[in-house]
C-alpha cells in the first residue's frame, strides 16, 4: 500500500531523515515513535510531498510518487492531519468538511453549481462529524470551538479527504484524558481496510491502535516490530521511553 | 443675451497651479473688458478636470448638456484636450483652448469648434532652430519628458534646427514625472560633444533640471536652450543662479514692452502679488477673445460662435489673430535670456522676436 525505500532528507548539515525504509500493507496500522526532533513530522511531510526528499523512493499502491505534488498524492489516497491545528478560520465545521470532501471528489471546478451541497457530500460530512464527535457543533464556526474540538476537526478533515492511507500527527496532544479515550474508540471503529500511520506520544493510545511500531531516532529507524516487542526493547526504552514511562 | 462660459481647468492634481493662473487671467480680462457689455451678460461656470481625461470629458458634458454653456474655455493638458475633441466637435460647442499645446488638435484632428489662443507645441519651439544656427550653435543634445508634448516639442525643434543646417548629436526622453534626478542624463549630455542642450521641461521638473544643470557645472561649458516654460517666472526664482544665461523661446515674457502688457502686469500684481505668468496671459487673452466676440455679435449666439475665430487684437503678447486654416493662434514668439543678478533677483531680456508665427495646416481640414 505504502512503501518507503531508503528515504533521506537533510536540512543543511542536519540529517533529519536518514535512510528510512518501511512498508505498510493495506489495513495495517503503524505507530511512529521517537523522541522530539527525531524527524517524525518531517517524514510525514516527505510522504505528503510538502518536502522533497534528497534521495529515496515513496510508492503508493505501487506507484512512485516522488515527482508528484501534494495534491496529486491526495488524489491517490493519501490523507493527513497536522500536529498543529490547521483549520479554516471563519468556516463552520460542516463547511470545512464538505469542502474537503468536494476537493477529494473533484467537485470544485464548477463556476455555476455548488458541488459541496451534493447529497453524497452532505451526508458523508455529517457522518464524519459524527465519527469525530462534532455532530452537535456542525454549524459552529471553527474559531468558536474549544481546543479539544479543534483537534477532533483536524482529524475529521483528514478523514474527509477519504484516504486509503491516513497519516495522523499527534492527534491527541493537548487533549484531556476523556477525549483521548473517545479518539481511540473512533479509530477502532474505522473500516479495517484503511491503512493508518500515526505519530503519538501517548503510549496508551499508540499501543491500543497499533499493529506495528517504527521508532525513529536522529532520522534513523532504530526499531521496527510489534508493540509488544517495542515495549520490551531495551533500545526503545533508552532513547524514547526513559524509565519514566512505567510509573506515569 | 446671456452668455454662459464654462471654465474647464485643473483645480486639483499636479496642474492645479496652472488652472488657478489661467482662471485669474480670465477673470482679469472680464474686469478689463467685460464692464460694458450692454444688453449682454457673461456668466462663468468653473469645473475641475483633475487633469484626468475621463473626468474632463464628464465635466465637459455637464457644462454643455446640463449647464448649457455657449462655450468652454480652459484645458491645460493635451490628454484632456484629446478626450474632449470629438465631443465638442459633435455638439458644436466652441472650445477656446487656453493652454494645451497638442499639435494635432489644430492639425490633422482640428475642428472648427476648437480655437486655440495659447500655442501649439510646434509653434513655440520651431523658431529656435534657425535662430540657434544663426548664432553659430551647430550641435545640440536634446532632452524632454517622455510623453506626447515632449516628443512634439523636440520634433518641431529638431526639424527646424536640422533644416537650417544644425545637427542633433543625440538626445533622450526621460520618464515623465518619474525622473527626479537628471544627473545621469546631464552627465551624458556633457560628454556628448554638443555645443549646447535644448530641452523642454515644465513645472517641478524644470526646477529640478535647471538646478542640477548648474550643480554639475555644465552651465560653465555648455549653454542651455529650451522652450520658455523652463525659466517661467513662476519657477525661475527657485532655480537660482543656474538659470542665468539660459535662452528660451515662448509666446510670452513678462518683460515685453507694450501698454497692454504693462496694464496687465500691473493689475495682476496688484491682486496676486506676483508677476503674471504665461499661463495667466493665456487665460487673459481667452477671456478677452470671448468678450470681444460677444461684443461683435449683438446678442446673436450663432454669430458669437462664428465670431470667436474672427477676433483680432493686440494684447500683452502683441498682435494676435486666429489662423482660419487651423484655428490656431498666430502670434509672436519671443526669444529671451534669463538673467540672475547677484542678489538673486531675476529678469528676462528679450533677444529677438519672431513675428506672427503661423503653423502649417499639417493636414487640417476644417468642416
Amino acid at each position: 500500500m505504502l512503501e518507503v525505500i531508503e528515504l533521506s532528507k537533510a536540512f543543511g548539515a542536519l540529517r533529519v531523515t536518514n535512510n528510512v525504509s518501511f512498508k505498510l500493507e493495506q489495513g495495517e496500522r503503524r505507530v511512529v515513535l521517537g523522541p522530539n526532533g527525531a524527524g517524525k513530522t518531517t517524514l510525514f511531510n516527505l510522504l505528503t510531498g510538502e518536502l522533497a526528499p534528497d534521495s529515496g523512493k515513496i510508492n503508493i499502491d505501487g506507484v512512485t510518487v516522488n515527482q508528484m505534488l501534494p495534491n496529486e498524492r491526495v488524489r491517490l489516497g493519501l490523507g493527513r492531519s497536522f500536529q498543529k491545528n490547521n483549520l479554516f478560520t471563519g468556516l463552520t465545521v460542516g463547511e470545512s468538511l464538505r469542502l474537503a470532501l468536494a476537493i477529494k471528489r473533484q467537485k470544485t471546478f464548477s463556476l455555476w453549481r455548488d458541488g459541496t451541497r451534493d447529497a453524497g457530500i452532505v451526508e458523508r460530512a455529517e457522518e464524519i462529524a459524527g465519527m469525530v464527535g462534532l455532530t452537535t457543533q456542525i454549524d459552529v464556526s471553527c474559531d468558536a470551538l474549544s481546543y479539544g474540538a479543534r483537534r477532533q476537526l483536524e482529524v475529521g478533515l483528514a478523514l474527509a479527504s477519504e484516504p486509503k492511507v491516513l497519516l495522523m500527527d499527534e492527534p491527541t496532544s493537548g487533549v484531556g484524558p476523556d477525549m483521548t479515550d473517545a479518539f481511540t474508540a473512533m479509530v477502532g471503529g474505522l473500516p479495517r481496510d484503511l491503512t493508518i500511520l500515526i505519530i503519538e506520544h501517548d503510549l496508551d493510545v499508540a499501543f491500543d491502535i497499533a499493529d506495528s511500531v517504527t521508532v525513529l531516532n536522529f532520522g534513523k529507524v532504530v526499531f521496527d516490530g510489534t508493540p509488544e516487542a517495542a515495549r520490551t526493547s531495551r533500545e526503545v526504552r533508552e532513547i524514547y521511553l526513559g524509565d519514566w514511562a512505567g510509573d506515569a | 443675451a446671456d452668455y454662459k462660459v464654462g471654465l474647464l481647468l485643473p483645480y486639483s492634481g499636479v496642474y492645479a497651479s496652472l488652472g488657478n493662473d489661467i482662471t485669474a487671467g480670465f477673470n482679469l480680462a472680464v474686469e478689463h473688458f467685460g464692464k460694458d457689455l450692454g444688453d449682454d451678460s457673461l456668466t462663468l461656470v468653473q469645473e475641475d478636470t483633475e487633469v484626468k481625461p475621463p473626468v474632463g470629458l464628464a465635466k465637459a458634458r455637464k457644462l454643455v448638456l446640463q449647464d448649457k454653456v455657449d462655450a468652454i474655455s480652459g484645458i491645460v493638458s493635451s490628454g484632456v484636450l484629446a478626450a474632449l475633441r470629438d465631443f465638442v466637435h459633435q455638439t458644436e460647442t466652441p472650445l477656446i483652448v487656453a493652454n494645451a499645446g497638442n499639435d494635432q488638435m489644430t492639425g490633422e484632428r482640428c475642428s472648427p469648434y476648437i480655437i486655440r489662443v495659447s500655442f501649439s507645441n510646434g509653434q513655440v519651439n520651431r523658431p529656435m532652430g534657425p535662430w540657434l544656427v544663426e548664432k553659430g550653435v551647430k550641435k545640440i543634445y536634446t532632452l524632454a519628458p517622455d510623453y506626447a508634448a515632449g516628443h512634439q516639442m523636440i520634433e518641431a525643434f529638431s526639424k527646424s534646427f536640422t533644416e537650417a543646417g544644425g545637427e542633433i548629436v543625440d538626445g533622450q526622453f526621460t520618464p515623465f514625472r518619474k525622473t527626479k534626478d537628471f544627473g545621469p542624463y546631464l552627465t551624458a549630455a556633457a560628454a556628448s560633444g554638443a555645443d549646447g542642450i535644448f530641452v523642454f521641461y515644465a513645472g517641478g521638473e524644470a526646477i529640478g533640471f535647471v538646478k542640477q544643470y548648474g550643480e554639475f557645472g555644465i552651465n560653465e561649458k555648455m549653454p542651455l536652450y529650451g522652450s520658455g516654460w523652463l525659466t517661467s517666472p513662476l519657477y525661475v526664482a527657485a532655480e537660482g543662479k543656474a538659470a542665468d544665461g539660459v535662452i528660451t523661446s515662448l509666446n510670452y515674457s513678462p518683460s515685453i514692452e507694450n501698454p497692454e502688457n504693462e496694464r496687465f502686469q500691473k493689475d495682476y500684481m496688484a491682486t496676486h502679488d506676483r508677476p503674471a505668468s504665461e499661463y495667466a496671459v493665456q487665460g487673459y487673452d481667452a477671456g478677452r477673445l470671448v468678450i470681444e466676440a460677444i461684443k461683435a455679435s449683438g446678442g446673436d449666439k450663432d454669430a458669437f460662435k462664428k465670431n470667436l475665430s474672427k477676433v483680432k487684437f493686440s494684447g500683452p503678447r502683441g498682435p494676435l489673430e486666429i489662423d482660419p486654416a487651423t484655428n490656431n493662434i498666430v502670434q509672436n514668439i519671443y526669444i529671451y535670456e534669463t538673467k540672475v543678478a547677484e542678489d538673486g533677483s531675476t529678469s528676462q531680456e528679450i533677444l529677438d522676436v519672431v513675428e506672427a508665427v503661423r503653423d502649417a495646416p499639417n493636414g487640417c481640414q476644417m468642416n
Binding site: 495534491n71 455555476w112 459541496t116 474549544s146 481546543y147 | 464628464a58 455637464k62 484629446a82 515623465f176
Partner: protein, 337 residues
C-alpha cells in the same frame, strides 16, 4: 462563505431600481455620474471577489480596466471588428492577462502580492504610456459605441446608455453572486482562509488562484470596454495605480467580502466626491478623513455595518457565563505552517 442573504438581495434590488430610475429621470450630469458609479461598481465588486473572498488584495486592478478598454479600441477601430463582437473579444486578453498574473503570483502572499500586482499594473501603464502606436500619453479618441439599432436601441441616447450600463452591472453582480455560491466560490473562500490546508486536502492551488484572478480581471476589463464607449476615449490614465487604490477604498468603505457592499461604496464615494467638489477643490482631504474614520469605526464599511447591525437586532441574547466545560480559544500557535 458567501450566502446571498435577504438583506443582500434587497439592497441589490434597491440599488438596481434606483439605477434604472436615475437613468431615465436624472439630469445629464446625473446620468454621467450614474455611469461613473456603475463602472466603479463593476471594478469594486470584481476586486471584492478577488480581495475580499479570495484574499488577494490587488493594487493592479486598474490595469485590467485599461486592457479591456484598449483591447476594445484596437479591435473595433484598428482591426475592423464590429463593436459588439469587439466587446466580447476584448475580454479574451483580460482573461488571459488575469490568468497569467494569477499563475505568476500564486506563491506570493500578503503585502508581497499587493506589491506584485502594483508592479504588474505599473508595467502595463508604462508600456501604454510610452507606446506611440497606442496613442502614448494622449490615448486614442473617437471610440465607437456598440450598435444595437437593429433591435431598436440607440446607444447614443444618454438614458439608454446609462440604463444599459446599469443592467450590465446588475448582470455581472448576479454572475459573481452565482460564482461565489458555486463550488468554485466555496473553494476560493477556503483558499483564502487556509491555502496550506487546501493543498493538503488535494487542491491544485495555483489553478484556482489563476482562475480567480482571470475572472476578476475579465470583469474589470468588461468595465473597461464600457468606459471606452462611454467616454469614446481611452488613455493610460485609466490604469493609474491610484485608480486601483480608489477602487480598493470603495470596497472597504462599502464592506469587504459582501459583494454588494462595494457597489454601495462606489456609489457613496462618487457621490461624496461630487458633492464635496461643489464647494471645495480639496475633496481629497475629505475623502481621506472619511476613509480614516470608517476604518477606525471598525472597518466594516457602510453595508458591512448595516449587516452587523441587523444581525445584532435579530440575534438572541447569548446564554450566560458559566462555560467551564468549553475549551479555551487558543491563539494562533507559533510556527503553524
Amino acid at each position: 462563505m458567501y450566502y446571498p442573504s435577504k438583506l443582500r438581495s434587497a439592497v441589490a434590488a434597491l440599488l438596481f431600481v434606483a439605477g434604472i430610475v436615475a437613468a431615465f429621470q436624472a439630469g445629464y450630469f446625473g446620468k454621467e455620474i450614474l455611469v461613473e458609479i456603475a463602472l466603479y461598481a463593476l471594478l469594486a465588486l470584481s476586486l471584492d471577489f478577488l480581495a475580499g473572498f479570495g484574499g488577494m488584495v490587488s493594487l493592479g486592478h486598474a490595469a485590467f480596466y485599461g486592457i479591456g478598454g484598449y483591447a476594445y479600441v484596437i479591435l473595433s477601430m484598428q482591426a475592423g471588428v464590429p463593436p459588439l463582437a469587439a466587446m466580447g473579444l476584448a475580454l479574451v486578453p483580460c482573461f488571459a492577462a488575469g490568468w497569467l498574473l494569477g499563475i505568476v503570483t500564486s506563491k506570493v502572499r500578503g503585502i508581497f502580492y499587493i506589491m506584485a500586482t502594483l508592479a504588474f499594473g505599473q508595467m502595463i501603464y508604462v508600456f501604454t504610456f510610452q507606446n506611440r502606436m497606442l496613442g502614448g500619453s494622449d490615448g486614442i479618441a473617437g471610440v465607437p459605441r456598440i450598435d444595437l439599432s437593429a433591435i431598436g436601441i440607440d446607444m447614443n441616447d444618454p438614458s439608454i446608455f446609462a440604463c444599459a450600463v446599469v443592467v450590465a452591472t446588475g448582470l455581472v453582480y448576479l454572475v459573481f453572486s452565482r460564482i461565489l455560491t458555486s463550488s468554485f466560490g466555496r473553494t476560493l473562500v477556503g483558499l483564502h482562509r487556509n491555502e496550506n490546508r487546501m493543498r493538503a486536502l488535494g487542491l491544485s492551488v495555483r489553478w484556482y488562484k489563476a482562475m480567480a484572478s482571470a475572472l476578476a480581471g475579465t470583469a474589470a476589463g468588461f468595465a473597461g470596454t464600457i468606459a471606452a464607449q462611454h467616454t469614446m476615449f481611452v488613455s493610460p490614465g485609466m490604469m493609474d495605480w491610484t485608480t486601483s487604490g480608489e477602487v480598493l477604498i470603495m470596497v472597504i468603505l462599502g464592506g469587504l467580502e459582501t459583494l454588494i457592499g462595494p457597489i454601495v461604496g462606489a456609489a457613496f464615494v462618487v457621490l461624496l466626491k461630487h458633492e464635496i467638489s461643489e464647494f471645495t477643490n480639496h475633496w481629497h482631504f475629505f475623502i481621506g478623513v472619511f476613509l480614516i474614520v470608517a476604518i477606525l469605526a471598525g472597518g466594516k464599511g457602510l453595508y458591512g455595518s448595516l449587516e452587523a447591525g441587523v444581525a445584532r437586532l435579530t440575534r438572541k441574547k447569548p446564554v450566560a457565563d458559566d462555560a467551564s466545560d468549553a475549551a479555551p480559544a487558543e491563539t494562533p500557535e507559533a510556527g503553524n505552517a
